[in-house]
Symmetry: C2
């Protein structure tokens, strides 16, 4: 039996509960990755637990309680006791980062905080580790999902800020008190953390200029559509010859900009530097389970150390006949009944047609269709039959289609 | 003076030379991140160097020679001697991964290979580290920039595969012998590596089904445009109840799919799992400098170990007045001369107009414009003047614009 990885969990709200469950569900995977089996051995909530008893029994402290007073005390105490800490607390880091990083450095233990900026979008690890020696010009992006949802909805529906905010609250994308999200303060705290990491310069929350989206008018979005622009609340940390800027503001983007297609409650961060050009990462920037997954990734890193080697400890069979949707291109004689014949062969073979384009071309016609998901073997068998038709003028051509429609 | 980090460099082609230069340029940053100053202490090329002399003097071996025979021998020898290895060699890993990972595991040293799959897009680190305990459903994406460039160009111009390939060769996006790229073999090797990591199952190159883009016809792309589809060469590794599939094939995507907007010689990889929903990473998937940057990231990780703590060892000034482009919305009396007056105030203030939309609204008119980059202080001073105009019917509103147009 492998050594245990004892987790002291501070806070058991939405993210804390999701994390607690995820640890149990993924215990095998964590053990495979780290050689240690994780277990939440102590929990501190407002009504339960004693930090003084939890700390000595923990191999890692996971701080998901929020707030900056008690959280700060406990995180500092853990680091000073040589216990590594994983936290998702952006305010704690944006306000007390200098003190906490210094304590971690002095004790020589890890302080990890991937979930504090963009939940499961791995911006912290990528900035700190993949690009640990990179000279960034600019780190920027959409780091608040609530406001991105609101702006996407306003642009799509023409509705007012107030109406869309109400809808976002009903859907759970905005808090009952949405102030910190909509005024840019939440994004500002995240940008303070990112700017600090990217530029190795102590940036605190009060040094970040921020503006929110409360004053955006529907007709601004209407004009923007005419100009081909889309509106995002951006956090921007940028380096100039004279220094850096760290700001949050609503901003129009031209089409083709990698952040322009990011719609709904998503986050996306771009990093730019001469040696990497630009790299973009996007995904869900909030959500209890997604945030918990980011926290668990940090816990695994704390436990695994850096010397992890890949092991192929499973041996799943490799399948070849899977389902797919297809585009099918047929060149046929322009005669009555050909489409019906083709459609019957597909349908007899278990293949159902989603859309068809037919077009004449002299004596010939093109039949172009997209079919719904079916097994490749079924589709290919039907096409082999179709290929035998006298009316066919050239070999059928087909290309797979990912049918899934994304509506972020 | 800090300890040296001695790098034995195998291969000095495009990536090797870029890496050698980057090590010198970023020595300060590497030293700050790892506490050790990097130096290339030995170089092996076809005509120069002796591996037997380089290895004993190296703290890390960086393999950028390519090929699978000598590279395999040297990498195995290094790992067995307890020297960590960083490689960008996808064929080596796709064909001999099992043997190399076992050797690294046995010796307890690191084998890193970020640059082998998507150059500077950090898919390997994210799959292995951020999501080390995640149960992936699917890992897929555009992992060959040459074919993505060709397909983007074919769709945009209507030109034939052959003509666009020639243009790609002229631009340096395709090799003189493009076979491995265009027939899907290059992507297949990368998918073998990704599938192995994501599903912990030994996948070798010969188990990957692949198709290329050589047979794509311009009229398929024309029909696809009508159907709202865009074409990509996708690598897909997916888990089903019965096993996994690992395939490479050209594939149509509906608009709104996160990979649909990825155009030109770029790579993008999506990972899907219940606990992370979906995360997308994109950026330049090739290029000597970009690949070298990914290799350097791995070297930093090898040297730093996992316990790196962030230190804010610089203290850049935080600037507040920076340049930006702006959208400006004015509600004015519909009288002659107002536009001219506004334009003069902007121009006197050093602000130049990029585009204007003017629209009547009863007695009033809307003037909506986008202005070119200027200092915020200049823009705000001009707007303050405009706000004093008698013709103005409400306060001016403005929103920043990122003017940069991306044409990936």
């Amino acid at each position: 039996m492998s050594e245990k990885l004892r987790i002291g969990l501070l806070g058991r709200g939405t993210v804390g509960s999701a994390f607690d469950e995820l640890v149990a569900e993924r215990a095998d995977q964590v053990e495979a990755a780290t050689g240690r089996r994780p277990e939440v051995t102590g929990v501190l909530t407002r009504s339960q637990g004693d930090f003084g008893e939890i700390l000595p029994d923990a191999d890692v402290i996971v701080e998901l309680m929020g707030g900056t007073d008690t959280a700060r005390e406990h995180v500092l105490a853990a680091l000073k006791a040589g216990v590594p800490v994983v936290t998702a607390n952006k305010q704690l880091l944006a306000q007390h980062g200098a003190e906490l990083f210094a304590a971690a450095e002095e004790a020589g233990v890890q302080l990890r905080f991937e979930a504090a900026v963009a939940a499961v979008v791995p911006v912290i690890r990528v900035v700190q580790e993949s690009f640990g020696a990179v000279e960034f010009n600019k780190v920027f992006g959409i780091v608040n999902g609530t406001t991105n949802f609101i702006l996407s909805e306003m642009a799509a529906t023409g509705a007012s800020y107030g109406d869309v905010l109400k809808r976002a609250q009903e859907l759970g994308y905005a808090e009952a008190d949405p102030t910190e999200d909509v005024n840019g303060a939440d994004a500002a705290a995240k940008m303070a953390i990112l700017a600090r990491l990217a530029f190795h310069t102590p940036v605190t929350l009060d040094q970040v200029d921020f503006e929110g989206i409360e004053d955006i008018q529907p007709d601004d979005l209407a004009y923007a559509k005419e100009l081909g622009l889309s509106l995002k609340l951006l956090g921007v940390a940028e380096k100039f010859e004279q220094g850096i800027t760290v700001r949050v503001f609503p901003c129009f983007l031209y089409p083709g900009h990698p952040l322009a297609p990011i719609e709904g409650p998503f986050n996306a961060v771009m990093v730019e530097a001469p040696e990497i050009t630009e790299v973009t990462m996007s995904g869900p920037g909030a959500g209890g389970l997604q945030t918990a997954a980011a926290v668990l990734g940090d816990v695994v890193s704390v436990a695994a150390g850096n010397a992890r080697t890949h092991t192929a400890d499973r041996d799943l069979p490799i399948l070849t006949d899977v389902a797919s949707s297809f585009y099918l291109h047929l060149e046929v004689a322009d005669e009555p009944g050909v489409l019906a014949e083709v459609a019957k062969m597909l349908s007899d073979g278990g293949v159902s047609v989603k859309s068809v384009v037919q077009r004449g071309l002299g004596d010939d016609a093109r039949l172009v269709m997209v079919v719904h998901h079916c097994l490749e073997s079924e589709f290919k068998a039907a096409v082999a039959q179709i290929a035998e038709l006298d009316a066919l003028r050239s070999s059928p051509r087909f290309i797979r289609v990912i049918e899934e429609e994304f509506t972020a």
